[in-house]
C-alpha cells in the first residue's frame, strides 16, 4: 500500500531559520505515527508545517500522492483534519455547533448544513461519547470534554488523515485512554491515518505503529516502537542523565540513592517494589536479593538498588548467591523482608530471613 502522507527531506522552522531538517515521514492509511521527543525539540513545528500552517523551508509534503502546496485549501480540507493545541474561544456556540464546523468543506456558498450533514455531526458526536454535551455551551465545558468535541469536529470533516498535536495533554487518565481508543478504533474501522505528537511515552509505545523521534534538529530515528523504546535510547533522546527507563512497562524510575547499602531487602514476586520505592524516597541506599531475573521485583530493584543479587530465571537460588547475600546482609544495619511466599525456588531466602532474625536486624 502506498503512503498517504509523506515528506522527504523536509526542513522546517520560523522566519527562514531552520529548526529541524532531514524530516522523512511516511504514513499509510490504517496506521498511527507518533512524534516523540523532548520539550522544544520541534514536534509542533513539524506538525504545523505538515498541515501548512507554516510553510516548509525546504522539501515537500505529499498528501494522497500529490504535493500539498499545489492543492487547494479545500482539497486538503477534505482529506486532512487537525486537532491542535491552540485554544479556541468560539462565542455562543454549542458543542454541536463546534463539531458542525467540521462540515465546512462540504457545504455550499453560505455554509448551510443539510439534514444529512447534521446526521454526520451527530454520528461524530456519538463516536466521542459527546451526545450529552451537544447542547451545552462550548465555553462552559471542561478541557477533556472540549478535546473530545474538537475530535468530533475533526471527524466531521471526514478526513483520510488526522493530525493531532498532543491531544492527551490536560486530560485525565480516563479521557486519555478514551481519546486514544477512539482514534485506534477509527484507524481500524475506517482506515484513517493518524499523525500525532505525544508526551506520554507509555501511551506512544502502546498505540503507535511507527514512532519518529525528534531530537538534535532532526528526526533522529523512525521505526516501530520495539526498535525505539529501548532503555538506552529513550534516556539518550531526552538527555536524561538521572533515573532510568523501563521499556517493558514503559515506566520511568528515579535514580538510586548514592552510597553503600544500609538496608538489605529480601523481596520477590512484587512484594519488594513498594519497599524499594519507599527507601528511594527516603534516600536510603539499599541492596536487594535474592531475586530471579524474571521476578516482578527485578527491574525495579535494578533501577533503584545500589546492588542486586540475582539468580538466572527458573533455577533455585544457589549456594554462591546465598553466600553473597548473607555477606551483604552482614554489612547492612537493617534487613527488611516484605517477602512472605517461600517455595522450592527461593528456599534460600527463608534462610536469609532466619539469619537476619537471629542477628536481630530484621525489622
Amino acid at each position: 500500500m502506498r503512503d498517504y502522507l509523506s515528506a522527504e527531506n523536509l526542513a522546517v522552522g520560523y522566519g527562514g531559520q531552520i529548526l529541524i531538517q532531514d524530516i522523512c515521514l511516511r504514513l499509510r492509511r490504517g496506521e498511527i505515527m507518533t512524534l516523540i521527543g523532548p520539550n522544544g525539540s520541534g514536534k509542533s513545528t513539524i506538525l504545523r508545517s505538515v498541515i501548512r500552517q507554516i510553510a516548509p523551508l525546504r522539501g515537500t509534503v505529499y498528501l494522497d500522492g500529490r504535493p500539498m502546496d499545489r492543492m487547494t485549501a479545500l482539497d486538503v480540507a477534505r482529506r486532512l483534519s487537525v486537532l491542535m493545541t491552540d485554544r479556541v474561544h468560539p462565542e455562543l456556540m454549542t458543542c454541536r455547533d463546534v463539531a458542525a464546523t467540521g462540515r465546512y468543506p462540504y457545504t455550499g456558498k453560505l455554509g448551510l448544513l443539510t439534514p444529512a450533514d447534521w446526521e454526520k455531526v451527530d454520528e461524530a458526536l456519538a463516536l466521542v461519547h459527546g451526545e450529552d454535551l451537544a447542547e451545552r455551551d462550548f465555553a462552559q465545558i471542561s478541557d477533556g470534554q472540549r478535546q473530545r468535541i474538537l475530535l468530533a469536529r475533526a471527524l466531521c470533516q471526514e478526513p483520510e488523515v488526522i493530525v493531532l498535536d498532543e491531544p492527551t495533554s490536560f486530560l485525565d487518565i480516563r479521557y486519555k485512554l478514551e481519546l486514544l481508543s477512539i482514534l485506534k478504533d477509527m484507524v481500524r474501522r475506517r482506515g484513517l491515518a493518524v499523525l500525532m505528537s505525544l508526551h506520554e511515552l507509555d501511551l506512544a509505545q502502546k498505540i503507535s505503529d511507527c514512532v519518529a523521534c525528534v531530537h538534535n534538529h532532526a528526526v533522529e530515528r523512525c521505526g516501530p516502537p520495539e526498535e525505539i523504546f529501548t532503555a538506552k535510547y529513550i534516556l539518550e533522546l531526552y538527555d536524561a542523565g538521572r533515573g532510568s527507563y523501563n521499556p517493558d512497562f514503559g515506566c520511568l524510575e528515579l535514580e538510586p540513592p548514592a552510597g553503600a547499602p544500609q538496608v538489605f531487602v529480601i523481596g520477590g514476586g512484587g512484594s519488594g517494589i513498594p519497599v524499594y520505592r519507599r527507601l528511594q524516597r527516603q534516600g536510603i541506599p539499599f541492596a536487594a536479593g535474592v531475586l530471579h531475573e524474571n521476578d516482578l521485583d527485578y527491574p525495579v530493584a535494578r533501577a533503584l538498588a545500589a546492588e542486586v543479587i540475582a539468580e538466572p530465571p527458573f533455577s533455585p537460588i544457589g549456594e554462591d548467591r546465598f553466600r553473597l547475600a548473607a555477606e551483604r546482609m552482614a554489612s547492612c544495619g537493617k534487613v527488611l523482608c516484605p517477602l512472605s511466599a517461600f517455595g522450592p525456588m527461593n528456599e534460600k531466602n527463608r534462610l536469609l530471613r532466619e539469619l537476619a532474625e537471629q542477628a536481630g536486624k530484621l525489622i
Binding site: 474561544h89 462565542e91 456556540m93 465546512y104 455554509g111
Partner: protein, 339 residues
C-alpha cells in the same frame, strides 16, 4: 435547533417592528409636528409645494435613510473587526479607524473648500477610505507586537486621539466660513444629508453588505481561530484582506457622510448577539445591520429632539448608550482572559 430557529425569527421580527416604529416616529418628530394622515398624504402624493412636504421629503426622509444605512454599516463594520481581531471590544471607533477617516476627510474638505470647490461624495468616500486604511495599517502593525487585546484597544484609542488632534489643528486654521459646517460634521451628525448622498451611500453600503454576507461562511470558520479555519479550507490571506477592506469601506463611508460615530460598532453587535443568542455570521450580519439601523435611528431621534431646537451631536448620544455597554462587556464578558 428548531427552538433556535424560531428565536431567530422572533428576534428579526422584533427588530423590524422597532425599525418601523422608529421610522414613523422620526418622520413625525421635530419642530413641525404632523399628523399621521398628513404624513401618509405627503408620502403618497406628488409635491404640493407646501413647507410640510419639503420638511418630510427633503429633510426628514433622507436623514432617516442615512441613519438606517450608516448605522447598519457601522455595526457590521464593528462585527467584522471583532471577528478579525477575535476581540469583542474591537470596533471602528475605538481602534481609531473612524478618526483616521475623519482626518483625511477634513483635510480634503478644507483644501477643496479653500479653493471654492464643494467636495463631492466620491472624493469624500475616497478620502475617508484612505484615512481608514492608514489607521488600519497602524493597528495591524501594532497588533503584530501587542498580543493583549486590551492593549491593542488602548493603542487604537491613542491613534484616534492623534488623528482628532490633527483634525482640530486643521479646523482651527480653516477659513471661518467653513468652520461651522466642518465642526458639526467632525462631531458626528446625520444632519445635512440629502437624497444624492443617500443614493451614493446606499450603493456603497449595499455592495459592502452583500459581500460581507457572502463571507459569512469563512467568518464562521474564522471564529474557531485561524488554525482551524485554514484547515477547513479558508484561504486565510485573502479572507483577512477581504475583512480589512470591507470593514474599512463600511466605516469610511459612515465617516465620510456623518463623521465619527462612537461605540455603535461595539455595542450593537454585542446586543444583537445577546438577543439572538448566537454568533453565527449568517444570522448576525443581517441582524447587526437592522440593529445598527434601529440604534442609530433611536439615537438620532434623541439628538434631534431632546434639546430642541438645539441639536446634539449623534456621537454624544451613541456614547451615552453605547459606552456603558462596552464597560459592562469588559467587566463581565466570559473569556476575559482573551482581553
Amino acid at each position: 435547533m428548531r427552538r433556535a430557529r424560531s428565536r431567530y425569527w422572533a428576534a428579526f421580527l422584533l427588530l423590524l417592528a422597532l425599525l418601523a416604529a422608529l421610522v414613523v416616529w422620526n418622520v413625525n418628530a421635530g419642530s413641525v409636528s404632523l399628523s399621521g394622515a398628513e404624513i401618509l398624504r405627503i408620502l403618497c402624493s406628488p409635491s404640493d409645494g407646501s413647507t410640510e412636504y419639503g420638511i418630510v421629503r427633503t429633510l426628514r426622509l433622507p436623514r432617516i435613510c442615512a441613519a438606517v444605512l450608516l448605522g447598519g454599516g457601522l455595526s457590521v463594520s464593528g462585527f467584522l473587526l471583532q471577528t478579525f481581531f477575535a476581540n469583542p471590544i474591537a470596533g471602528p471607533f475605538v481602534l481609531g479607524i473612524s478618526s483616521g477617516a475623519k482626518l483625511a476627510v477634513s483635510l480634503v474638505m478644507i483644501s477643496l473648500l479653500s479653493r471654492g470647490i464643494a467636495a463631492g461624495s466620491a472624493a469624500l468616500i475616497g478620502a475617508a477610505f484612505l484615512g481608514a486604511m492608514l489607521s488600519m495599517g497602524f493597528i495591524l502593525l501594532i497588533s503584530q507586537r501587542v498580543k493583549r487585546m486590551s492593549m491593542l484597544v488602548v493603542c487604537g484609542v491613542m491613534i484616534g486621539y492623534i488623528c482628532s488632534a490633527i483634525t482640530d489643528f486643521a479646523v482651527t486654521f480653516a477659513e471661518d466660513s467653513n468652520i461651522v459646517n466642518l465642526h458639526n460634521w467632525s462631531m458626528g451628525s446625520f444632519s445635512g444629508i440629502y437624497w444624492d448622498s443617500v443614493a451614493v451611500m446606499a450603493a456603497v453600503i449595499g455592495i459592502a453588505m452583500a459581500l460581507s454576507f457572502f463571507l459569512s461562511k469563512p467568518i464562521g470558520a474564522y471564529q474557531m481561530g485561524e488554525v482551524y479555519a485554514q484547515n477547513m479550507g479558508v484561504n486565510i490571506r485573502a479572507f483577512r484582506l477581504a475583512l480589512i477592506l470591507l470593514s474599512s469601506v463600511l466605516s469610511a463611508c459612515v465617516t465620510a457622510f456623518a463623521g465619527p460615530i462612537s461605540f455603535v460598532g461595539i455595542a450593537v453587535p454585542h446586543l444583537v448577539k445577546s438577543l439572538f443568542r448566537t454568533a453565527k455570521p449568517i444570522v448576525i450580519i443581517p441582524a447587526c445591520f437592522l440593529g445598527g439601523a434601529v440604534f442609530c435611528l433611536f439615537c438620532d431621534l434623541i439628538a434631534r429632539t431632546a434639546f430642541a431646537p438645539t441639536e446634539v451631536s449623534i456621537s454624544s448620544v451613541t456614547a451615552v448608550f453605547g459606552a456603558p455597554i462596552v464597560i459592562y462587556m469588559m467587566a463581565f464578558q466570559r473569556g476575559k482572559s482573551n482581553l
